[in-house]
């Protein structure tokens, strides 16, 4: 197990390095002259070539690729994201503030999605093919087809504008988080319901189950020892994919609900070509992905010890 975790960590490190090179290559080759943009953003006017060259030097745009890459990576490894190319303020405090809005939102979305889908899937599988089952599959398919921004606008219209039950815009109180979290959660629930449902159905079809049930092993023990772990594996897999959806969804949803957070942070950074800000978000996202996938791999091995035993 220790060896397996070591191998997983090594793999994660390689993925991170690859992501770093790729990110930097993209920034390096981005069309348009970033120095111009920075100048525009800072001084609100087109400036002389001298000033632009100065800016170019300042943000390290004048050297060759690998040299610039090393110079770029060093501080990142120390979690030093540098200064905003636009405002000149350090990146980290602003990034941290954005994270404190986005991560709780994403987690609340995940939690509400799970809280919705788990009971729904269990109810649906009580009688596979029954009315309840078909209804929940239909709702889930519909939910998966609806884009988050449209659902978000719909919920704002209904619950905030028409009924006035919940605040829609901004992030002043915890109540402001409810609508965005539910919007995210509904999207998560749509895909999770189907995954959990088919996971349970497949787990129930395992050939050894009937015989042990006849020997007095009751439904509760069967669910706990044989169905839940089996059904959990695809769910854990989907969690990894869901994370992409959540971050992407959170970005859209923050814009719709006028919430500060990584979404707003990233959109502003891209629009103003603020390299350090964009970099910081990309690196952070990559880090989150790698860490979550590492956790998923470890959870897999805890659920099913067969996983990963062949590739030693």
């Amino acid at each position: 197990m220790i060896k397996a975790i070591g191998a997983l960590l090594l793999r994660a490190a390689v993925v991170l390095l690859g992501t770093a090179i790729l990110t930097f290559a993209l920034l390096w080759n981005a069309p348009g002259d970033p120095a111009q943009t920075i100048a525009m953003a800072r001084f609100d006017a087109l400036l002389t070539d001298d000033v632009i060259d100065q800016i170019r030097d300042e943000v390290g745009l004048n050297t060759n690729f690998w040299h610039a890459f090393r110079a770029w990576l060093g501080p990142l490894l120390r979690f030093d994201f540098g200064y905003s190319a636009v405002t000149g303020r350090p990146v980290w405090p602003d990034l941290w503030t954005a994270m404190t809005y986005t991560f709780p939102l994403a987690l609340a979305g995940l939690a509400s999605g799970l809280a919705l889908s788990l009971p729904l899937a269990i109810l649906a599988t009580k009688r596979p093919g029954g009315l309840l089952d078909r209804t929940s599959v239909a709702i889930a398919s519909l939910g998966a087809a609806i884009p988050a921004y449209w659902l978000g606008l719909l919920l704002i219209l209904l619950l905030a504008v028409q009924l006035g039950w919940l605040p829609a815009m901004g992030a002043r109180t915890p109540a402001h988080a409810i609508l965005p979290a539910v919007t995210l959660g509904l999207g998560v629930a749509a895909s999770l319901t189907r995954i959990i449902r088919s996971g349970i159905l497949e787990a129930r079809g395992q050939p050894f189950l009937p015989a042990i049930r006849r020997r007095g092993v009751d439904g509760r023990a069967v669910a706990r020892d044989h169905i839940a772990p089996h059904a959990a594996i695809p769910v854990v897999t989907v969690f990894g994919l869901e994370l992409a959806f959540l971050l992407e969804g959170a970005v859209l949803i923050e814009v719709i609900f006028g919430r500060p957070g990584l979404g707003t942070f990233l959109v502003q950074a891209i629009l103003s070509r603020d390299f350090p800000h964009v970099q910081a978000v990309v690196v952070l996202t990559a880090l989150v992905f790698v860490v979550v996938n590492l956790a998923i791999d470890i959870i897999y091995r805890a659920i099913d010890p067969r996983i990963g035993t062949e590739d030693a």
Partner: protein, 241 residues
């Protein structure tokens, strides 16, 4: 006593068992033989209650058969276990579920009889041989002293010597504990040696039911005579004196 009366079972629209009648008293063994696809496993599934009879009924001492909590040794040894759990967990499951105490030394004795080292139980099904998994299946079936055991080709993956020892353990245990055993086998020699009765299935129907000696000496139907002669020529059965 297991009683099956006039049983018919359908799979989809096809009738796979028809007019099956048998009775198996406690402490006795019924050997079921018949060609592949004859319906042997289907009969077991019906007794377990996994397939609903289209006609007829199955009872244990007058009650529905599931009252016996029948134990099953599955035909496919690896499919018989949860692949994620070690064999010990799976084998002990009936004991834990029924809340009965495991008699001291029982596990050791059964393992010895099955020629399974105890530490084999700490492995998962994919880490043992098929024959070892098959014996673990027998172990799980017998561990909690069930009144009725259904064996679906329990020795199919074992070598001749292990077959002999395993068969002996089953008989010994049966003599002590008095369970009823229904044993599906392709081995006519085993059927005659260990069965009190032999039932031959062919295409979902009972071709013949007889006590073991009668069957070996004077099978009634032409099919059973062919079957017996084939077994003799293979050396699985001794020619009648």
């Amino acid at each position: 006593m297991l009683k099956v009366t006039d049983l018919a079972v359908k799979r989809g629209s096809r009738v796979t068992l028809e007019s099956i009648t048998l009775s198996l008293p406690a402490g006795e063994t019924l050997a079921v033989v018949g060609e592949s696809g004859a319906g042997k496993s289907t009969l077991i599934a019906a007794i377990l209650g996994l397939l609903k009879p289209a006609e007829g009924e199955i009872t244990w001492n007058g009650k529905p058969a599931r009252a016996a909590r029948p134990a099953l040794v599955m035909q496919e040894p690896r499919a018989a276990f949860n692949p994620a759990l070690n064999l010990r967990r799976s084998v002990m499951e009936p004991i834990v579920a029924q809340g009965v105490a495991l008699a001291a030394g029982r596990l050791e004795r059964l393992c010895a009889g099955l020629e399974m080292p105890l530490d084999l139980l700490d492995r998962r099904p994919d880490q043992v041989s098929i024959g070892q998994a098959q014996r673990a299946g027998i172990l799980r079936a017998l561990i909690a002293a069930p009144p009725l055991v259904l064996f679906d080709e329990p020795l199919s993956a074992l070598d001749a010597v292990t077959q002999k020892h395993t068969a002996r353990l089953i008989s010994e245990l049966q003599a002590e504990e008095g369970f009823a055993a229904l044993i599906v086998t392709h081995d006519l020699g085993y059927a005659v040696a260990h069965g009190d009765q032999i039932m031959v299935l062919k295409a979902g129907r009972v071709e013949e039911t007889a006590d073991a000696n009668t069957f070996a000496l004077t099978p009634q139907s032409p099919y059973c005579r062919t079957l017996r002669d084939a077994a003799i020529s293979l050396g699985a059965l001794e020619a009648a004196a």
